[in-house]
Symmetry: C2
Subunit: 196 residues, 2 copies
Protein backbone atom coordinates (compact mmCIF):
# COMPACT_ATOMS: atom_id res chain seq x y z
CA UNK A 1 0.00 0.00 0.00
CA UNK A 2 0.95 3.63 -0.40
CA UNK A 3 0.77 5.09 3.10
CA UNK A 4 1.34 8.63 4.31
CA UNK A 5 2.91 8.69 7.76
CA UNK A 6 2.23 11.99 9.51
CA UNK A 7 4.56 12.77 12.38
CA UNK A 8 7.21 10.52 10.93
CA UNK A 9 10.15 11.88 12.88
CA UNK A 10 9.08 11.18 16.47
CA UNK A 11 9.73 8.05 18.53
CA UNK A 12 6.42 6.51 17.53
CA UNK A 13 6.64 7.70 13.92
CA UNK A 14 10.02 6.03 13.46
CA UNK A 15 8.66 2.81 14.97
CA UNK A 16 5.65 2.83 12.64
CA UNK A 17 7.95 3.51 9.70
CA UNK A 18 10.04 0.47 10.53
CA UNK A 19 7.07 -1.87 10.90
CA UNK A 20 5.38 -0.67 7.69
CA UNK A 21 8.64 -0.87 5.71
CA UNK A 22 9.17 -4.46 6.86
CA UNK A 23 5.75 -5.26 5.45
CA UNK A 24 6.80 -3.85 2.09
CA UNK A 25 4.59 -0.79 2.05
CA UNK A 26 5.46 2.40 0.18
CA UNK A 27 5.73 5.08 2.86
CA UNK A 28 5.51 8.82 2.25
CA UNK A 29 6.66 10.67 5.35
CA UNK A 30 5.11 13.98 6.36
CA UNK A 31 6.08 16.32 9.16
CA UNK A 32 7.02 19.93 9.82
CA UNK A 33 10.52 19.36 8.43
CA UNK A 34 12.87 16.61 7.32
CA UNK A 35 10.18 14.50 5.61
CA UNK A 36 9.11 13.76 2.03
CA UNK A 37 6.20 16.19 2.31
CA UNK A 38 6.13 19.21 4.62
CA UNK A 39 3.00 19.64 6.72
CA UNK A 40 1.93 21.60 9.77
CA UNK A 41 -1.19 19.75 10.84
CA UNK A 42 -2.30 22.63 13.06
CA UNK A 43 -2.89 24.59 9.84
CA UNK A 44 -5.81 23.35 7.69
CA UNK A 45 -4.30 25.04 4.60
CA UNK A 46 -1.08 23.08 5.10
CA UNK A 47 -3.05 19.82 5.28
CA UNK A 48 -4.82 20.77 2.05
CA UNK A 49 -1.46 21.39 0.36
CA UNK A 50 -0.17 18.04 1.62
CA UNK A 51 -3.10 16.10 0.19
CA UNK A 52 -2.82 17.97 -3.12
CA UNK A 53 0.85 17.02 -3.33
CA UNK A 54 0.18 13.41 -2.35
CA UNK A 55 -2.62 12.49 -4.71
CA UNK A 56 -4.31 9.19 -3.88
CA UNK A 57 -3.00 7.16 -0.96
CA UNK A 58 -4.26 3.95 0.60
CA UNK A 59 -3.84 4.91 4.23
CA UNK A 60 -3.06 7.80 6.55
CA UNK A 61 -1.18 6.97 9.75
CA UNK A 62 -1.00 9.89 12.16
CA UNK A 63 1.54 9.84 14.96
CA UNK A 64 1.44 13.61 15.37
CA UNK A 65 -0.06 15.46 18.25
CA UNK A 66 1.27 17.85 20.82
CA UNK A 67 -0.41 19.14 23.94
CA UNK A 68 0.77 21.31 26.84
CA UNK A 69 1.56 19.54 30.11
CA UNK A 70 0.74 21.87 32.98
CA UNK A 71 -0.88 21.73 36.40
CA UNK A 72 -4.56 22.58 36.05
CA UNK A 73 -4.19 25.66 38.23
CA UNK A 74 -1.52 27.03 35.91
CA UNK A 75 -3.32 26.18 32.68
CA UNK A 76 -4.87 29.16 30.90
CA UNK A 77 -7.55 29.26 28.23
CA UNK A 78 -4.96 29.51 25.46
CA UNK A 79 -3.19 26.35 26.68
CA UNK A 80 -6.45 24.44 26.34
CA UNK A 81 -6.96 25.83 22.83
CA UNK A 82 -3.34 24.98 21.92
CA UNK A 83 -3.81 21.37 22.99
CA UNK A 84 -7.02 21.09 20.97
CA UNK A 85 -5.34 22.58 17.91
CA UNK A 86 -2.27 20.41 18.43
CA UNK A 87 -3.97 17.03 18.71
CA UNK A 88 -7.73 17.20 18.08
CA UNK A 89 -8.74 19.57 15.28
CA UNK A 90 -5.45 18.75 13.52
CA UNK A 91 -6.26 15.05 13.30
CA UNK A 92 -9.93 15.72 12.57
CA UNK A 93 -8.75 17.80 9.60
CA UNK A 94 -6.55 14.93 8.41
CA UNK A 95 -9.69 12.79 8.24
CA UNK A 96 -12.09 15.46 7.01
CA UNK A 97 -9.86 16.68 4.18
CA UNK A 98 -8.49 13.23 3.39
CA UNK A 99 -11.93 11.74 2.85
CA UNK A 100 -11.77 12.76 -0.83
CA UNK A 101 -8.50 11.05 -1.77
CA UNK A 102 -7.67 8.40 0.82
CA UNK A 103 -8.78 4.96 -0.34
CA UNK A 104 -8.49 2.75 2.70
CA UNK A 105 -8.06 3.92 6.26
CA UNK A 106 -7.13 6.58 8.75
CA UNK A 107 -5.31 5.69 11.97
CA UNK A 108 -5.08 8.45 14.57
CA UNK A 109 -3.04 8.78 17.74
CA UNK A 110 -4.69 8.95 21.16
CA UNK A 111 -3.07 7.86 24.42
CA UNK A 112 -3.50 6.27 27.79
CA UNK A 113 -4.50 9.52 29.50
CA UNK A 114 -7.95 9.18 27.97
CA UNK A 115 -8.57 6.47 30.55
CA UNK A 116 -5.79 6.89 33.15
CA UNK A 117 -5.25 10.53 34.06
CA UNK A 118 -2.04 11.98 35.45
CA UNK A 119 -1.43 15.33 37.10
CA UNK A 120 -0.43 18.00 34.54
CA UNK A 121 -2.15 15.93 31.84
CA UNK A 122 -5.67 17.39 31.80
CA UNK A 123 -5.34 18.70 28.24
CA UNK A 124 -3.83 15.41 27.05
CA UNK A 125 -6.77 13.56 28.61
CA UNK A 126 -9.26 15.92 27.01
CA UNK A 127 -7.61 15.62 23.58
CA UNK A 128 -7.39 11.83 23.72
CA UNK A 129 -10.99 11.47 24.85
CA UNK A 130 -12.06 13.69 21.96
CA UNK A 131 -10.09 11.66 19.40
CA UNK A 132 -11.37 8.30 20.64
CA UNK A 133 -15.01 9.40 20.52
CA UNK A 134 -14.48 11.06 17.13
CA UNK A 135 -13.06 7.85 15.68
CA UNK A 136 -16.12 5.88 16.79
CA UNK A 137 -18.38 8.51 15.20
CA UNK A 138 -16.46 9.02 11.95
CA UNK A 139 -16.39 5.27 11.36
CA UNK A 140 -20.14 5.11 10.87
CA UNK A 141 -20.17 7.96 8.35
CA UNK A 142 -17.09 7.47 6.20
CA UNK A 143 -16.49 4.91 3.48
CA UNK A 144 -12.91 4.67 4.77
CA UNK A 145 -12.05 2.83 7.96
CA UNK A 146 -11.05 5.04 10.94
CA UNK A 147 -9.32 3.79 14.07
CA UNK A 148 -7.18 5.17 16.87
CA UNK A 149 -4.17 3.75 18.66
CA UNK A 150 -4.05 4.58 22.37
CA UNK A 151 -0.70 3.55 23.84
CA UNK A 152 0.67 3.86 27.33
CA UNK A 153 4.19 5.22 27.88
CA UNK A 154 6.91 3.67 25.73
CA UNK A 155 9.86 1.74 27.13
CA UNK A 156 12.00 3.97 24.90
CA UNK A 157 10.58 7.10 26.55
CA UNK A 158 11.00 6.07 30.18
CA UNK A 159 14.20 8.14 30.56
CA UNK A 160 12.22 11.23 29.66
CA UNK A 161 8.80 10.44 31.17
CA UNK A 162 9.40 7.65 33.66
CA UNK A 163 9.04 9.93 36.66
CA UNK A 164 5.55 11.01 35.62
CA UNK A 165 4.49 7.47 34.69
CA UNK A 166 5.83 5.83 37.87
CA UNK A 167 4.30 2.38 38.22
CA UNK A 168 2.90 2.25 34.70
CA UNK A 169 4.07 -0.79 32.72
CA UNK A 170 5.76 0.68 29.66
CA UNK A 171 5.43 -1.00 26.26
CA UNK A 172 7.99 -1.15 23.45
CA UNK A 173 7.17 1.39 20.76
CA UNK A 174 7.06 -1.53 18.34
CA UNK A 175 3.91 -2.77 20.06
CA UNK A 176 2.13 0.51 19.31
CA UNK A 177 3.50 0.42 15.76
CA UNK A 178 1.99 -3.03 15.35
CA UNK A 179 -1.38 -1.60 16.33
CA UNK A 180 -1.04 0.83 13.41
CA UNK A 181 -0.26 -2.11 11.14
CA UNK A 182 -3.30 -3.95 12.46
CA UNK A 183 -5.46 -0.89 11.81
CA UNK A 184 -4.06 -0.40 8.30
CA UNK A 185 -4.02 -3.99 7.06
CA UNK A 186 -6.94 -5.19 9.17
CA UNK A 187 -10.64 -4.93 8.57
CA UNK A 188 -12.08 -3.17 11.58
CA UNK A 189 -13.31 0.39 11.89
CA UNK A 190 -14.30 2.66 14.77
CA UNK A 191 -11.86 0.87 17.06
CA UNK A 192 -9.57 2.26 19.72
CA UNK A 193 -6.58 -0.06 20.00
CA UNK A 194 -5.37 0.23 23.56
CA UNK A 195 -1.69 -0.68 23.76
CA UNK A 196 -0.53 -1.40 27.31
CA UNK B 1 -26.31 24.53 49.26
CA UNK B 2 -25.97 27.57 47.06
CA UNK B 3 -25.78 26.18 43.52
CA UNK B 4 -25.32 27.96 40.21
CA UNK B 5 -27.21 26.24 37.43
CA UNK B 6 -25.72 27.11 34.04
CA UNK B 7 -28.00 26.48 31.09
CA UNK B 8 -31.04 26.78 33.30
CA UNK B 9 -33.59 27.38 30.58
CA UNK B 10 -33.29 24.19 28.52
CA UNK B 11 -35.18 20.94 28.97
CA UNK B 12 -32.47 19.46 31.17
CA UNK B 13 -31.81 22.73 33.02
CA UNK B 14 -35.47 23.00 34.03
CA UNK B 15 -35.43 19.38 35.21
CA UNK B 16 -32.32 19.95 37.32
CA UNK B 17 -33.87 23.11 38.75
CA UNK B 18 -36.94 21.18 39.88
CA UNK B 19 -34.95 18.39 41.53
CA UNK B 20 -32.58 20.77 43.32
CA UNK B 21 -35.43 22.99 44.49
CA UNK B 22 -37.25 19.99 45.94
CA UNK B 23 -34.11 19.26 47.97
CA UNK B 24 -34.24 22.78 49.39
CA UNK B 25 -31.14 24.15 47.69
CA UNK B 26 -30.69 27.81 46.85
CA UNK B 27 -30.39 27.96 43.07
CA UNK B 28 -28.90 30.81 41.08
CA UNK B 29 -29.76 30.39 37.42
CA UNK B 30 -27.35 31.45 34.69
CA UNK B 31 -27.85 31.50 30.93
CA UNK B 32 -27.65 33.83 27.95
CA UNK B 33 -30.93 35.51 28.90
CA UNK B 34 -33.88 35.14 31.22
CA UNK B 35 -31.84 33.96 34.23
CA UNK B 36 -30.61 35.45 37.50
CA UNK B 37 -27.12 35.98 36.08
CA UNK B 38 -26.37 36.49 32.38
CA UNK B 39 -23.58 34.35 30.96
CA UNK B 40 -22.34 33.34 27.55
CA UNK B 41 -20.15 30.35 28.37
CA UNK B 42 -18.44 30.48 24.97
CA UNK B 43 -16.84 33.74 26.15
CA UNK B 44 -14.24 33.36 28.93
CA UNK B 45 -14.71 37.02 29.91
CA UNK B 46 -18.43 36.44 30.40
CA UNK B 47 -17.68 33.46 32.68
CA UNK B 48 -15.29 35.66 34.67
CA UNK B 49 -18.01 38.29 35.08
CA UNK B 50 -20.47 35.61 36.17
CA UNK B 51 -18.19 34.28 38.90
CA UNK B 52 -17.42 37.82 40.08
CA UNK B 53 -21.12 38.54 40.39
CA UNK B 54 -21.80 35.21 42.14
CA UNK B 55 -19.17 35.24 44.85
CA UNK B 56 -18.79 31.91 46.61
CA UNK B 57 -21.04 29.03 45.64
CA UNK B 58 -21.13 25.41 46.77
CA UNK B 59 -21.66 23.82 43.39
CA UNK B 60 -21.75 24.48 39.67
CA UNK B 61 -24.19 22.43 37.60
CA UNK B 62 -23.72 22.88 33.88
CA UNK B 63 -26.47 21.82 31.52
CA UNK B 64 -25.22 24.06 28.73
CA UNK B 65 -23.57 22.93 25.57
CA UNK B 66 -24.37 23.28 21.92
CA UNK B 67 -22.77 21.53 18.97
CA UNK B 68 -23.53 21.49 15.24
CA UNK B 69 -25.28 18.38 13.88
CA UNK B 70 -24.10 17.80 10.32
CA UNK B 71 -23.07 14.92 8.10
CA UNK B 72 -19.31 14.52 8.27
CA UNK B 73 -18.93 15.30 4.57
CA UNK B 74 -20.70 18.63 5.04
CA UNK B 75 -18.87 19.59 8.22
CA UNK B 76 -16.22 22.27 7.78
CA UNK B 77 -13.33 23.23 10.04
CA UNK B 78 -15.32 26.08 11.58
CA UNK B 79 -18.16 23.71 12.54
CA UNK B 80 -15.69 21.58 14.48
CA UNK B 81 -14.31 24.66 16.23
CA UNK B 82 -17.85 25.88 17.00
CA UNK B 83 -18.71 22.57 18.65
CA UNK B 84 -15.56 22.67 20.74
CA UNK B 85 -16.25 26.25 21.80
CA UNK B 86 -19.90 25.44 22.44
CA UNK B 87 -19.46 22.43 24.69
CA UNK B 88 -15.80 21.73 25.54
CA UNK B 89 -13.72 24.84 26.17
CA UNK B 90 -16.84 26.52 27.58
CA UNK B 91 -17.25 23.90 30.30
CA UNK B 92 -13.50 23.63 30.88
CA UNK B 93 -13.56 27.39 31.55
CA UNK B 94 -16.41 26.95 34.03
CA UNK B 95 -14.14 24.59 35.98
CA UNK B 96 -10.85 26.42 35.44
CA UNK B 97 -12.19 29.83 36.44
CA UNK B 98 -14.49 28.47 39.12
CA UNK B 99 -11.68 26.70 40.96
CA UNK B 100 -11.02 29.86 42.98
CA UNK B 101 -14.52 30.40 44.38
CA UNK B 102 -16.50 27.18 44.11
CA UNK B 103 -16.45 25.25 47.38
CA UNK B 104 -17.80 21.83 46.54
CA UNK B 105 -18.29 20.42 43.09
CA UNK B 106 -18.62 20.88 39.35
CA UNK B 107 -21.04 18.75 37.34
CA UNK B 108 -20.70 18.98 33.57
CA UNK B 109 -22.90 17.77 30.73
CA UNK B 110 -21.73 15.11 28.31
CA UNK B 111 -24.01 12.73 26.40
CA UNK B 112 -24.59 9.28 25.01
CA UNK B 113 -22.81 10.03 21.74
CA UNK B 114 -19.48 9.70 23.53
CA UNK B 115 -20.13 5.95 23.49
CA UNK B 116 -22.92 5.43 20.94
CA UNK B 117 -22.36 7.47 17.79
CA UNK B 118 -25.05 8.58 15.38
CA UNK B 119 -24.75 9.97 11.88
CA UNK B 120 -24.47 13.77 11.90
CA UNK B 121 -23.20 13.59 15.47
CA UNK B 122 -19.42 13.47 14.99
CA UNK B 123 -18.86 16.81 16.72
CA UNK B 124 -21.18 15.86 19.56
CA UNK B 125 -19.24 12.62 20.03
CA UNK B 126 -15.93 14.46 19.98
CA UNK B 127 -17.14 17.05 22.49
CA UNK B 128 -18.60 14.47 24.86
CA UNK B 129 -15.48 12.30 24.72
CA UNK B 130 -13.40 15.36 25.54
CA UNK B 131 -15.58 16.33 28.52
CA UNK B 132 -15.62 12.81 29.99
CA UNK B 133 -11.84 12.44 29.82
CA UNK B 134 -11.36 15.97 31.17
CA UNK B 135 -13.55 15.22 34.17
CA UNK B 136 -11.47 12.16 35.05
CA UNK B 137 -8.29 14.25 34.78
CA UNK B 138 -9.51 17.38 36.58
CA UNK B 139 -10.73 15.25 39.49
CA UNK B 140 -7.19 14.23 40.44
CA UNK B 141 -5.91 17.81 40.44
CA UNK B 142 -8.68 19.90 41.95
CA UNK B 143 -9.73 20.17 45.58
CA UNK B 144 -13.33 20.34 44.32
CA UNK B 145 -15.14 17.26 43.05
CA UNK B 146 -15.73 17.12 39.28
CA UNK B 147 -18.18 14.77 37.56
CA UNK B 148 -20.09 14.55 34.29
CA UNK B 149 -23.61 13.40 33.51
CA UNK B 150 -23.91 11.56 30.21
CA UNK B 151 -27.58 10.98 29.37
CA UNK B 152 -29.21 9.34 26.40
CA UNK B 153 -32.12 11.04 24.64
CA UNK B 154 -34.91 12.31 26.91
CA UNK B 155 -38.46 11.06 26.77
CA UNK B 156 -39.46 14.72 26.68
CA UNK B 157 -37.32 15.27 23.56
CA UNK B 158 -38.52 12.32 21.49
CA UNK B 159 -40.87 14.51 19.44
CA UNK B 160 -37.89 16.55 18.31
CA UNK B 161 -35.14 13.90 18.17
CA UNK B 162 -36.94 10.57 18.09
CA UNK B 163 -36.25 10.02 14.39
CA UNK B 164 -32.49 10.29 14.92
CA UNK B 165 -32.54 8.17 18.07
CA UNK B 166 -34.73 5.39 16.64
CA UNK B 167 -34.47 2.32 18.85
CA UNK B 168 -32.75 4.13 21.71
CA UNK B 169 -34.58 3.75 25.02
CA UNK B 170 -35.31 7.31 26.12
CA UNK B 171 -35.11 8.31 29.78
CA UNK B 172 -37.20 10.90 31.63
CA UNK B 173 -35.26 14.14 32.06
CA UNK B 174 -35.80 13.71 35.80
CA UNK B 175 -33.48 10.70 35.76
CA UNK B 176 -30.64 12.84 34.37
CA UNK B 177 -31.51 15.57 36.87
CA UNK B 178 -31.15 13.01 39.65
CA UNK B 179 -27.65 12.22 38.41
CA UNK B 180 -26.81 15.92 38.93
CA UNK B 181 -28.22 15.68 42.44
CA UNK B 182 -26.13 12.58 43.08
CA UNK B 183 -23.03 14.35 41.82
CA UNK B 184 -23.72 17.47 43.90
CA UNK B 185 -24.77 15.87 47.19
CA UNK B 186 -22.70 12.71 46.79
CA UNK B 187 -19.09 12.06 47.55
CA UNK B 188 -17.54 10.80 44.33
CA UNK B 189 -15.26 12.60 41.91
CA UNK B 190 -13.96 11.91 38.42
CA UNK B 191 -17.13 9.99 37.58
CA UNK B 192 -19.17 9.93 34.42
CA UNK B 193 -22.75 9.13 35.35
CA UNK B 194 -24.26 7.41 32.35
CA UNK B 195 -28.03 7.85 32.34
CA UNK B 196 -29.81 5.38 30.05
Amino acid sequence: MRIVLVGATGTLGRGIHEVLRERGHEIVTASRKGSDVPVDITDPASIRAMYEQLGEVDAVASAAGSVPWLPLDRLDHQDVLDGITGKVTSQVELVRQGAATVRGSFTLISGVLARDPLRTGAVASLANGAIEAFVRAAAIELPQRVNAVSPTVFTESMDAYGELFAGFEPVPVRQAANAYLRSIEGHQTGQVYEVG
